[in-house]
């Protein structure tokens, strides 16, 4: 180490001598981790110790969830209809009845979802086709940029404009058990921030679905957008082409083997693009809905790490490290000028 005698530096005032500091001399205290056997094994052990319980818990949570899934898109087409698309596009009442059996006791709240498959809500054209200003602010009713082709109708603006709103899902479900209608609440099914900040309290639907081509659901022009929770839910676009969206909540408890009758209004066209439609009733756990993936994945990785920890232990014991064995160095294998 160079000595850092201060007296010499004061003597030479204009010296170009670099000033000593741990930083400039690159001698900062540092920890220099190295993957010693102990580290490797304990890291793997730690992962498995953490992961396996989480996996078990997640798996239990997922198993606790009771979920009823009913695909109805083809069943709800009368058997004699060959052209499904034409059927669905023909105006008129297209109701359909489905029966669901509760496999296990379901505790409230029970969430009612509709699930669409092969529906690209994340398509760039689709995602962009909305105007947040217009949705939020009644004064901005004329901002329809980006909403094409659903921006104007007969010369006046559409509120809410854009393809997303236009293609609003409009199948309806009414559920009943033993002929007693089950109340499906539509309150609080959307995100609070959406209701309060993205959809205006004084913005009312205008000129909506009044054009030649009607996409999906219609909106009550007398209810402000902030209360049209179906729309709010729909407009939070899904990330993947298979998605569920909340239809409503039920605050009743369903018992095992309860039979639920569903009266469906089958209005939404998924037939032209071969999309599936499903009705889902599900409870939730602390982890959310029914999905074993996380639990299994945690268990797998936890188990794998445990195995690796064991394997490394064995290997380290069986084949101790050979210190500085140069035969690994590539340039020792073929000496001489390249």
């Amino acid at each position: 180490m160079e000595n850092t005698d201060t007296s010499t530096s004061t003597v030479r005032r204009n010296s170009k001598r670099p000033r000593y500091s741990k930083f400039t001399q690159q001698e900062l205290p540092a920890c220099k981790p190295i993957l010693t056997p102990r580290w490797v094994i304990s890291a793997f052990m730690l992962i498995s110790i953490v992961f396996i319980p989480i996996g078990v818990a997640a798996l239990f949570a997922s198993r606790d969830v009771v979920e009823i899934v009913d695909r109805y898109d083809s069943e709800c087409i009368p058997a004699n209809e060959t052209d499904k698309v034409k059927y669905i596009q023909t105006p008129g009442e297209k109701s359909c009845n489905r029966t669901l059996t509760v496999p296990k006791r379901m505790k409230p709240p029970i969430f009612v979802y509709y699930q669409l498959d092969n529906f690209y809500q994340n398509h760039r054209r689709y995602v962009k086709s909305r105007n947040d200003q217009q949705l939020r602010d009644s004064k901005e009713a004329n901002s329809v940029s980006g909403c094409k082709p659903e921006d104007f109708n007969n010369g006046s603006v559409i509120v809410p404009c854009g393809l997303i709103a236009w293609s609003l899902f409009n199948d309806t479900y009414s559920l009943s058990r033993n002929n007693i209608t089950l109340n499906v609440s539509k309150k609080d099914i959307s995100w609070k921030s959406d209701r309060e900040h993205k959809f205006g309290k004084d913005v009312y639907p205008k000129n909506f679905q009044s054009g030649g081509l009607i996409g999906g659901g219609i909106l009550d022009p007398n209810i402000p957008l902030s209360e049209q929770e179906d729309l709010i839910v729909w407009m939070r676009t899904a990330a993947l082409p298979n998605f569920r969206k909340l239809y409503g909540k039920m605050e009743v408890e369903l018992q095992e083997n309860d039979v639920i009758d569903v009266t469906l209004g089958n209005n939404y066209n998924t037939y032209s693009f071969n999309g599936k439609k499903k009705l889902v009733l599900s409870t939730t756990s602390w982890l959310g809905g029914k999905n074993d993936f996380l639990g299994i994945a945690y268990l797998t990785v936890g188990g794998l790490c445990f195995f690796l920890a064991m394997a490394f232990t064995v290997v380290y014991l069986v084949k101790p490290r050979q210190l500085g064995d140069p035969s690994y160095l590539s340039w020792n294998r073929n000496p001489g000028w390249r």
């Binding site: 220099k32 989480i54 994340n122 054209r125 999906g216 939070r236 993947l240 909340l246 982890l287 160095l329």
Partner: protein
Amino acid sequence: MANGDRQRRRSHPSSVHSLSFGRQSSEEVLSLIGGPGFSRLVFCNDPHCLQASILKYAGNHVSSTKYNIATFLPKSLFEQFRRVANVYFLLCALLSFTPLSPYSALSNVLPLVVVIGVTMGKEILEDWRRQMQDIEVNNRLVKVHRGGGVFDNIKWKDLKVGAVVKVDKDEYFPADLILLSSSYDEAICYVETMNLDGETNLKMKQALDVTSKLQEDLDFNDFKAVIRCEDPNANLYSFVGSLEFENEQHHPLGPQQLLLRDSKLRNTDYIYGVVIFAGQDTKVVQNSTAPPSKRSKIERRTDKLVYLLFAGLVLISFIGSVFFGLWTSDDITEDGSMTRWYLRPDNTEIYYNPRKASIAAILHFLTALMLYSYFIPISLYVSIEIVKVLQSIFINQDLNMYYEEGDKPARARTSNLNEELGQVETILSDKTGTLTCNSMEFIKCSIAGTAYGIGVTEVERALTRRKRLPDEEVHGDDTSDNAHKASVKGFNFFDERIMNGEWINQPHRDVIQSFLRLMAVCHTAIPEVAEDRREVTYEAESPDEAAFVVAARELGFEFFDRTQGSVSIRELDLVSGKRVERNYKLLNVLEFSSSRKRMSVIVRDEDDGKLLLLSKGADSVMFGRLSEDGREFEARTKEHVGEYADEGLRTMVLAYRELGEDEYREFDEAFRAAKNIVSADRDEMVEEVEDRIEKNLILLGATAVEDKLQNGVPDCIDKLAQAGIKLWVLTGDKMETAINIGYACSLLRQGMKQIIISSETPERVALLKAGDDLAVSAAAKANVVDQINRGKTLIKESRESSDAVALVIDGTSLAFALEDDVKDAFFELAIGCASVICCRSSPKQKALVTRLVKIRTGGTTLAIGDGANDVGMLQEADIGIGISGLEGMQAVMSSDIAIAQFRFLERLLLVHGHWCYRRISSMICYFFYKNIVFGFTLFYFEAYTSFSGEAAYNDWYLALYNVFFTSLPVIALGVFDQDVSAVLCLRFPLLYQEGIHNLLFSWKRILGWAFNGTVSATCIFFFCIRAVEAQAFRKGGEVVGYEILGATMYTCVVWVVNCQIALSISYFTYIQHLFIWGGIVLWYVFVLAYGYLDPYISTTAYMVFVEACAPALSFWLVTLFAVISSLVPYFTYSAIQIRFFPLYHQMIHWVRNDGQANDPEFCRLVKQRSLQPTTVGYSARFEASSKRLDKKPEQATTNIE
């Protein structure tokens, strides 16, 4: 002025010097003037006259800056957009204003602006520094004639062509001047051209007789003259002009009157000169070519990598576009009905028009190019530049490379070659001023067969240390070893037996007396007695000559005066025991020449009237000239000379004889006659006469002068050799000197086979005499080729016996060897040798050799030198290192990195070079990794949106990824990471091989990282989407939307890339912790803050964290899982690799970890087991000599001559 007068009156001993300047005949010169290329007209002493102002010659202002205010913007922008990546990003930025863009324009433009801005800021800073340097030079002061015989100081930049200037001793010439007169009556002056050609010896210039009388300021009052001369050109050694002065006569001017800018007036009190070329027109500036901009190999490979990524990007964009086109065309079926009706395919812009799906696909291709631009690390280049600047600061700040005596720290002048320092395969070194201090020290002598002098040479010191501590580190305690440091420059001799007059008690005291007297008399030095001190200093043509005279003085034979024909010495009178002054009448000087290899003087001792021939010369010529009875000490002396030579000392054999009067008279006549011959063979005749008298000498002894190596040079060379770096010495010196230094540096040693290729063969000399130039060169070339071929066979033989071979080649042979048809063979020979020494090589040859090595080995070459003659070499090599010696900034100015001492090279390469190489290569690999992770998640998501071009993340997440959340850790990696500490880097020099073999930036490693990136991205993406799928992701029953999935995936990506860097870093200071964990924390802070902004700004990120993610346990569980499981593969890989297939630095980690790094025995074990046999350096020498002890010593020196 009094001093000047005194000197002027003193007649200059011109007889000592050989004034041999071949003047062209004046008619010849004058005929050229005025012709094409010789049109310059200079009105002396009248720079403002009308004619002069019409001519508009360049002023003396020089500028080395790249930009000025007006050109900065266009020029630097042009520079910026020469990088393909930047052009691509510019295109993206422009396209982002169209509806094609997958994200908002601002978020796309901003990173580019930041990146370009930072780079341009760096350019400004660098140019500003150059500007400061220019200002310093331009504002130096010089005395200029203002009229009326008054000289005033003006700034260099204001100097005009035609002005008369007065330059004082030790000042630089401000422009190219024509010498008018000097403080000497003969109008001569001495010039040091170190800055131009690196030669330290003084050159004499002489003005025309007609102007030599202008010796006072006042003489210039009415001085008028006109100079006509050649136009500005770059040729330093030629000049043609004429001076029209007084009575309209034309006097020819030649290079003898030309004083070049940047050379220095020495040994002359002042000169007057007239400016003929100023500023841009000066020969120096004309000579300076713009330094080639060098790019490191890593950077070049990075470019390739970027192209590769770009190709990948185009490929996946293309794939995406094809799918998009198919998907889109399906949106309307053949019967005209819509499939994905919710997209309104019947009424769309062209971008999604199913009826024109192919056009839509093409346009989508552009969108995809923009979307996947995250594969190309936009901030890579700027990060690399920032990192390199910081690395350079570390180099500049390194106290271990600070030279205390010269007050010079290391200075990295360009920062873009730092990592190249870690890959140097061959070093091409200058000798004088680089390996040696360019000071000769008298260190030993052998008189009458007895060796005197206990001084220790640098290499001996290194050797003894090595013997004492077989493997302990030897660090700079040189001063303690060298307790009696030379107090007198040029003298490092200690021996009580003959110092302080003790020599009179030695057995052969008369021989000693003659010996010392010879040293004091036989030379051409000029004494200078300072007025105030009684000390005599000497001005000699070469430093070894000075060392002789100094040694004589220190040993009691003080040479103190030289007049036209005599030499005066204070010496001890053996009879009286008193110091007496004695005069020796100097009769003849028989000059030194490279063919004679000796010089002699003939003097008459004025006391006893004896005629003496005093001779000194190389052993090869001197021993043959001894008389029968003069060989008394021959055997012993020869032995000593051999020892000295092996120590790298420069030896000189001294001998004398008394001449008879008749013999002398005869010689004198012949000598005069020969000298007066005016024909081509005059020199030969003179030599012949000289040769006749230098015979039958009586041997006195031999001297050994150390061409003083710089501190620590043998150590450094040894370390570099151990690191596997080859060292070539390219010197302008004589072959003997070069070989001496080769020994001194342990590049050569006894027992090494030497292949000496020289053109100074008898046949050549004979042919030269015959005067047939063509035949000479043809024969010489054939000879060189033959020697090369013989050398090659020798190498083949020695390869079998694993002997080291050294190659020594001289300049003339080199010229032939570098010709196109020979150079392959030469190169093959050269790389087969352990060390290569090229002597007598011109600057151009140095550059050529450098280029040859650079191109043929394909490895990185480093040139190091201190003089202007090294400039070509420095610029040609991949890295040029300038030694910022005592004087001469030319080399430094054209170097990439300047250091003060050769020994700092060790630290510069082994520590800084290795670190920088490792840092930069890890950094680039990591950069690609992180961008691939990010890019692939985008791509996978694309596949789930039917390739519509929707980004998975919010615009600002995208924009800030490279700039914010992941940039600082990688910069910290690039600046601070140390795989191995500095001490261990030096202790295990072989570590350097990692750089030479480019292990850390091999394609394998790069692709490995790219693969790792793909694995991580795949893990993150699929784990995320499988985990959240369609079901509720939290208790409240909400499902995951587009924005939540984006935020979750982004969180995982930020975690993974930051943790990945934490895994691959081997040096954690608080800075790394701060940046890595800070980067992650910053992301959470950002998403929180951004989420609180108005939804109009934050769009999809509005409240996403607070409301949706943070309260959901599954968000955290998914993050934890995705992060850990993406890192497990890498972790497992590196655990296996470090354990079972460790790289060298990892072995050192183990050594350190086991706490054995301080156990020398253990270290030696590790080192030896993994050591290639080194062939040069004193370690090798030590090993070889111990081997020799086992076997019978055999002299294997093979000379091919």
